[in-house]
């Protein structure tokens, strides 16, 4: 390979697309590092505080597409205060200042302001794709700037963001010359949109393949849009009103008959089941169905819908589908790969699914490898059966609504059940557990879960040994998040070098003390050990024996961050 000119190597590296593979390529030798780095266009930064934007720009001057992640995962569940951090502005400002030809930006759990959106829209002439997932800090004014100024915009994808809605007019900001849209998702916007502008936009976007509407788009507009965009592949239905007149309904049926390409369906915000049958027409071709925002669709209507979806690969639903509904899924969806069953009413125990549904899925769906399952109860026997049926799980996340509930039949901890899962599923990369769990389950995980990269634990374990088994055993561990477990300093400090091999560790409501965290920070200068202090009782010079209520540590090349708010101490 030494005799190949750089251009040839670069051309070969073009075929290496995955981030991990490119990282490996860059570590072979210095010349490869140089060529790979100068030619890499797509960069992934799993923790925006792990490295500075300047360093990224310096290494990857050809950067065109970047993914940045900010807050820790538990921020999704209100465990992280809103101003904790994850500001993207410094990155955009650095990219603009260095004249980077940024074309794609994907952010997850970050804070992005309207000013920042405006800066993006003005600084990057070829900007094509903006994907924001679980972000906040901006309003529809920022979206208006993107719409107005990004002449070649292909993708505007807003997933579950908290957006301040100033109503409607941002959609009208797409100029008449903008005909390049391929993907538009504004399902998470709470306010009204200019429906006429939306229709016109769809009409002049011949490449539109993915469209997800918010609740403010009623059925009659949906029908008109579908008539103009029969080539849609991904559709997010907005509001699905109770009582449409038969004419609108019939027009919808006609429009749907023309949409032969739809493979992915979602939305049904504010849905009533009456007119669901119109969608039976496209069900046979669906590979992805997300009804997790539609509590109004369940029981017989839901089962009827599912029975038409024989090609489904991905299903997201609410637990009001019930075990019975899951049995229908198991017998119908033989291509199913991923399922997520969300809780419809977190505080009530009536509906919901149990171990019965899980076992049915594991036995009926041979390709199932990824599951998120919120359930009423679980048993070891069921988990052992699931493990036997489905050794191909790569992601297994189980959440019992009562987090310390033992085996519903034997009253034993669920150690054996989860032990069976990690033993059997040799390719398991992500695991979340709940229910009554002792140190034993961690012994099993440490012993068997060789490929495990991310694990979430809550209300589990008895002693420090639990966490120690985990840290000792799981060689590929990258992200560990723990809440309400009796793990303390002995576990935290057992193997401090381990944390440099991981992206991050979160521990909240455990037994680690301020002193323990300080000690760790002292030993490991390449880690940022942050304490999130939400009460007034503690201050940095406080008694080291005080509990650190929330601790988040991560490896970094950027040193302590300068944007930490008052309540976050970097030790």
């Amino acid at each position: 390979m030494n005799y190949f000119p750089d251009e040839v190597l670069e051309h070969i590296f073009d075929f290496v697309t995955s981030q991990r593979d490119r990282n490996s390529v860059s570590q072979v030798c210095k010349p490869w590092y140089k060529i790979e780095s100068s030619s890499r266009q797509k960069v992934f930064v799993g923790n925006c505080y792990a490295i500075s934007p300047e360093r990224v720009i310096e290494r990857f001057p050809g950067l065109k597409s970047i993914t940045l992640k900010g807050k820790p995962h538990f921020a999704d569940f209100n465990l992280v205060p809103p101003d904790w951090g994850g500001f993207v502005y410094p990155w955009i400002e650095a990219f603009a200042r260095n004249n980077l030809g940024l074309e794609e930006l994907k952010l997850k759990r970050m804070i992005i302001s309207d000013e920042c959106l405006e800066l993006i829209s003005r600084s990057f002439a070829n900007f094509k794709s903006l994907v924001l997932v679980s972000c906040e800090g901006f309003s529809t004014d920022g979206l208006a700037a993107i719409a107005s100024n990004c002449s070649f915009l292909r993708e505007l994808d807003l997933q579950e963001n908290d957006v301040e809605d100033h109503r409607g007019h941002w959609l009208s900001c797409f100029p008449d010359t903008c005909t390049s849209l391929v993907s538009l998702n504004f399902a998470c916007l709470k306010g009204d949109v200019n429906l006429a502008a939306l229709e016109r936009l769809v009409a002049r976007s011949p490449n539109l393949r993915s469209l997800r509407l918010n609740h403010a788009v009623p059925l009659d507009i949906l029908q008109k849009i579908l008539m103009r965009a029969p080539h849609l592949v991904d559709l997010g239905v907005g509001s699905y009103v109770h009582d449409p007149d038969s004419e609108t309904y019939n027009k919808l049926v006609t429009a749907l008959q023309k949409c032969k390409s739809v493979r992915s369906l979602s939305g049904f915000l504010e849905a009533a089941p009456q007119c669901l049958s119109a969608f039976h027409l496209i069900c046979p071709n669906l590979t992805s169905l997300n009804l997790s925002y539609a509590p109004g669709i369940h029981g017989t209507e839901l089962r009827k819908l599912i029975r038409h979806c024989r090609k489904l690969q991905r299903l997201w639903i609410l637990d009001c589908i019930g075990d019975e509904g899951l049995e229908v899924v198991a017998s119908t969806c033989k291509d199913l790969q991923e399922i997520r069953v969300f809780p419809s009413d977190p505080f009530v125990g009536n509906a919901a699914v149990t171990e019965v549904g899980l076992v049915a899925l594991s036995s009926g769906c041979p390709k199932l490898h990824s599951i998120l399952y919120f359930c009423q109860q679980m048993t070891n026997a069921a988990l052992i059966t699931v493990a036997k049926n489905r050794p191909n799980f790569t992601r297994f996340r189980l959440c019992i609504l009562d987090p310390t509930k033992p085996d519903a039949v034997t009253n034993q901890p669920l150690d054996e059940g989860f032990g069976a899962i990690v033993h059997s599923c040799k390719g398991l990369r992500r695991l979340s557990m709940s229910g009554r769990l002792t140190d034993k389950v961690f012994l099993y995980i440490g012993m068997y879960a060789e490929q495990l990269e991310m694990i979430s634990i809550a209300f589990a374990g008895d002693t420090d040994k639990g966490m120690q088994y985990l840290l000792n055993g799981c060689k590929k561990l990258r992200k560990l998040e723990i809440r309400d477990c009796p793990f303390g300093n002995a576990a935290l400090l057992m193997d401090v070098g381990k944390y440099e091999t991981m992206r991050s560790l979160w521990m909240s409501s455990c037994n680690v003390t301020l002193g323990g965290c300080k000690s760790l920070a002292k030993k490991m200068p390449m880690l940022n050990v942050e304490i999130i202090n939400e009460t007034d009782q503690m201050d940095i010079s406080a008694d080291d024996r005080q509990k650190a209520e929330k601790m988040f540590l991560y490896r970094t090349l950027a040193g302590r961050r300068k944007d930490a708010p008052e309540f976050v101490w970097t030790l």
Binding site: D76, F77, N78, S246
Partner: protein, 174 residues
């Protein structure tokens, strides 16, 4: 929070802090003393004792699912009937009508059964034997456009959005 080792002391600890357990004894005072003793004796740190009043049903930030607007949940009546579609039903010759929730039915067969019971009659249905047509009834409906049609011609799912009310008429009067 009940995560102690599985020993008898931890189970009584649990029963004193979880009000739902059936240890609602007639000796509340003794229970309180027990929990105080346990709190003093156990080496669980103070931060976990911060919320002795947090019963298991009100755990903070659990389950770990993202808050999602679920407006329709409040209007649910029961598990299988998130919304209702009540229509008036009249039988020919009877002035006072009934009301029926169409959404509580699976389909035409189910509906006919309910109506048969409600009005104590036999409603003619295409598959049925037409022996005593003189004593049978036929089900008709008024659609959104005001027309009266025989029930059963269109799929159930198309029928639901268009039906305004039902009428049971004598088979021989058609």
């Amino acid at each position: 929070m009940g995560r102690g080792a599985a020993s008898s002391s931890s189970s009584s600890f649990e029963s004193s802090s979880y009000p739902s357990v059936s240890g609602e004894s007639s000796f509340p005072q003794r229970k309180r003393d027990l929990s105080t003793d346990l709190r003093l004796g156990l080496s669980i740190s103070t931060s976990q004792q911060d919320n002795p009043s947090t019963p298991s049903e009100q755990l903070m930030d659990w389950p770990p699912s993202k808050p999602v607007p679920r407006k329709a949940l409040d209007s649910e009546e029961n598990e299988y009937c998130s919304s209702t579609l009540f229509v008036k039903v009249y039988m020919e010759g009877i002035q006072i009508g009934r009301k029926l929730n169409l959404l509580a039915h699976d389909g035409y067969h189910d509906l006919i059964q309910t109506l048969d019971q409600m009005f104590n009659t036999n409603i003619l249905w295409p598959e049925m034997d037409v022996e005593n047509s003189a004593h049978c009834h036929v089900l008709t409906y008024e659609d959104k456009e005001g027309d009266w049609l025989i029930v059963g011609d269109v799929p159930w799912e198309m029928f639901l959005p268009s039906v305004r009310r039902l009428k049971i008429t004598r088979a021989d009067s058609l």
